[in-house]
C-alpha cells in the first residue's frame, strides 16, 4: 500500500514527534509514505477568517500535486485534514468555485479534479491495515499503559474520519485494547483543547486543557493519547513547572502513532519520545516469544 504523505507545518516544528512516529509506524506495518512534493501550508483557519477564495486555492495546490501520483493523502494534523477536506467538498458543491480555483492553479501550471481522498493516519491504520495485522506485528507489551484516548475536534467534526459516532468515537480505544493496553473511560474525548486560542486567549485555552487533564487524572489514566499536533502541544505545555498545572501529576501526552510504535518495537528515539516535555517512564517490555503475534491473546474487547 502506498500513500501520499502531507505532514503540514506543525509536523516540522512543535509536532516533530508525530512526523517521526507516523513514518516509523507506517514503515513497520508495510505501508509506504511518499512525502507530497513541495507541499505548501493548507492555510488553516487563519486564511478562512480573512480571504476565502485564496484559502481554497492554496489548499487546492496540494490536492493538485497529489493527483499526479494518485495515492490517497495521509494528513496527520487535524486542521490540515479538515481544511483539505473542506476544500474538496466546497469545490465539488460549487461549480463556479471549482472553475475559479482551477484558473488560479493554472497560474502555476496545475489543475485539480478532486480525485484524491484525504485521510487521517488513524483511519488508514484501522481500516486499511486493520488492528488484527497490527496485533500480529506486535513485539512489545504496552500493558502498563492506561491511555485516555483523546480525539479532539476536527478528526470527528465536521468531516468524520472514522466511521462512527462523532460524539463517542471508539476506534482508538479498541485498537489499544487489542494491543493489550487499558484505555480508560474518558468522556471528554471529543472536547476542544482550545486550538490556537493558546496564542490569542491564553486563559481560555488553559482552562479547556486543565479540564481535560484533570478528567484524565480522575479517570485513572497514566497518559493521554492524541491525534493532533495542536492538542498535543496545548496539553503538553501544562506539564511545565509554574504553569497553571501547579501541583498536578505530570502526564505524558503521546501521539497515537507513538504508542502503536512502542507496541511494534520501534525505539523511543525513532518515535520522538525525547520531544515530549515529560519523560515517559512507563515500560514497554519485549513480549515473551510465545505471545508474539498471538491475536487477541491479551487485552479485552471493548
Amino acid at each position: 500500500m502506498k500513500y501520499t504523505y502531507y505532514p503540514g507545518c506543525s509536523l516540522h516544528a512543535t509536532g516533530v514527534s508525530y512526523d517521526k512516529s507516523t513514518r516509523a509506524v507506517f514503515a513497520k506495518v508495510g505501508a509506504e509514505l511518499a512525502e507530497l512534493e513541495d507541499w505548501n501550508c493548507c492555510g488553516a483557519t487563519s486564511y478562512t477568517s480573512v480571504k476565502k477564495t485564496v484559502a481554497y486555492a492554496i489548499a487546492a495546490r496540494n490536492l493538485a500535486i497529489a493527483e499526479q501520483t494518485g495515492d490517497d493523502i495521509v494528513a496527520p494534523c487535524s486542521a490540515c485534514y479538515y481544511v483539505l477536506n473542506r476544500t474538496r467538498k466546497r469545490m465539488a458543491e460549487m461549480p463556479e468555485l471549482y472553475e475559479q480555483v482551477n484558473v488560479a492553479l493554472a497560474e502555476a501550471g496545475l489543475h485539480t479534479n478532486l480525485t484524491v481522498p484525504v485521510r487521517k493516519p488513524l483511519d488508514v491504520l484501522v481500516n486499511d491495515i486493520g488492528s488484527d495485522r497490527i496485533v500480529a506485528l506486535q513485539t512489545h507489551s504496552i500493558a502498563d499503559f492506561r491511555p485516555a484516548c483523546y480525539y479532539g475536534c476536527q478528526i470527528v467534526r465536521p468531516y468524520g474520519s472514522i466511521d462512527e459516532d462523532p460524539e463517542r468515537p471508539m476506534s482508538m480505544d479498541r485498537l489499544f485494547a487489542a494491543l493489550g493496553a487499558s484505555p480508560v473511560d474518558f468522556p471528554p474525548k471529543v472536547r476542544c483543547c482550545g486550538g490556537m486560542l493558546v496564542a490569542t486567549s491564553e486563559a481560555v485555552a488553559e482552562k479547556l486543557c486543565t479540564d481535560l487533564l484533570d478528567w484524565a487524572v480522575d479517570s485513572g489514566a497514566n497518559c493521554i493519547v492524541t491525534v493532533c499536533p495542536l492538542c498535543q502541544a496545548n496539553l503538553d505545555l501544562l506539564n511545565l513547572n509554574g504553569s497553571t498545572n501547579g501541583s498536578r501529576t505530570k502526564m505524558p501526552i503521546l501521539y497515537l502513532t507513538q504508542l502503536i510504535g512502542l507496541a511494534l518495537g520501534c525505539s523511543p528515539e525513532e518515535l520522538g519520545l525525547q520531544h515530549g516535555l515529560v519523560p515517559v517512564k512507563i515500560d514497554a517490555p519485549r513480549l515473551s516469544p510465545s505471545m508474539v503475534g498471538a491475536p487477541s491473546a491479551h487485552g479485552e474487547e471493548i
Binding site: V16, C41, Y47, S49, K52, T53, E96, Q154, R157, G242
Partner: protein, 225 residues
C-alpha cells in the same frame, strides 16, 4: 464591550428598522452567508440554545452563539462585530454538528470575522485578527507556516510583554527540539504567489439561496439527518 449588548432586549430600540450603517452591514453579512452552502438556513434558527450549550468557550464570550443569531435577526450587527464572541470561537464545530436546524454556525462566525476585518471593527484587547494577518504573511513569504516566527511576530505586534511571560514555554519547546530556528521555504513559492494573486481577484461565487419558509425540515424533524 458594554454589558448592555449582552441583553438582546436592550439596545435594539426598534426591531426591524435599521439605521443606514446597520443596514449596510446586514446586507454585507447576508451576502457573505449566502455564499455558505446552507447559509439560507439562518432563518430556520429556533433559538433552542444547543449551540451555546455545546460550545466549550461560551462561558468566556460576551454574547453566546445563540444570542449572536438572535441579535443578527434583530438587526444589531455593529454590536455583533464588536463582541468578543466571533474572535473567541476556537472552530471546534461542536455547534455546527449538533444544530437541529442544520445551521453552519462556525462558518457564520467566519463570515462575521471577514466583515469585521473589512469594516475595521474590532473588540478592544482581542487581537485574534492580527494572528491571521501574521499567519497569512508567513505563508506568502515561505509557502509554509513558520511557527517560531509566527509566535514571535504575533506577540511583538500585540503584546511584547507577554513574550516574557511565556518565555518558559518557548524555551522548553526549543530545548526539546520543537521550535526550529530557520523557516522552511518551498521551491514553488513563485507559483504559489501567482496562485494567491490570481485567487485574490475572485470573489466567492454567490450561492442561489432558497429562503425556506416551510417548517417540515426544521427543529426535531431535522434531527438525525
Amino acid at each position: 464591550m458594554k454589558k448592555r449588548f449582552a441583553d438582546p432586549h436592550f439596545g435594539v430600540s426598534t426591531p426591524g428598522v435599521l439605521s443606514k450603517s446597520e443596514r449596510d452591514l446586514r446586507d454585507a453579512f447576508r451576502a457573505e452567508t449566502d455564499r455558505i452552502p446552507g447559509g439560507g438556513r439562518l432563518d430556520q434558527c429556533i433559538q433552542c440554545g444547543m449551540c451555546t450549550g455545546s460550545c466549550p468557550v461560551s462561558y468566556a464570550m460576551d454574547l453566546t452563539p445563540r444570542q449572536v443569531i438572535g441579535m443578527f435577526r434583530a438587526g444589531a450587527i455593529e454590536e455583533l462585530l464588536e463582541s468578543s464572541t466571533i474572535w473567541i470561537c476556537a472552530s471546534c464545530y461542536q455547534c455546527t454538528t449538533r444544530c437541529p436546524a442544520d445551521i453552519q454556525i462556525t462558518d457564520l462566525i467566519y463570515a462575521l470575522r471577514r466583515i469585521a476585518i473589512e469594516s475595521d471593527t474590532f473588540p478592544n484587547r482581542l487581537p485574534t485578527h492580527i494572528f491571521s494577518e501574521v499567519f497569512i504573511d508567513m505563508v506568502k513569504r515561505y509557502g509554509r507556516n513558520y511557527e517560531t516566527g509566527l509566535i514571535l511576530r504575533y506577540f511583538l505586534r500585540t503584546n511584547p510583554l507577554a513574550l516574557f511571560g511565556r518565555r518558559r514555554a518557548g524555551i522548553a519547546l526549543w530545548r526539546h527540539g520543537r521550535l526550529p530556528i530557520l523557516p522552511d521555504k518551498i521551491d514553488g513559492i513563485d507559483g504559489l504567489r501567482r496562485i494567491i494573486a490570481k485567487a485574490e481577484t475572485f470573489d466567492l461565487p454567490q450561492e442561489v439561496v432558497e429562503r425556506q419558509t416551510v417548517t417540515d425540515s426544521v427543529g426535531y424533524a431535522a434531527i438525525g439527518r
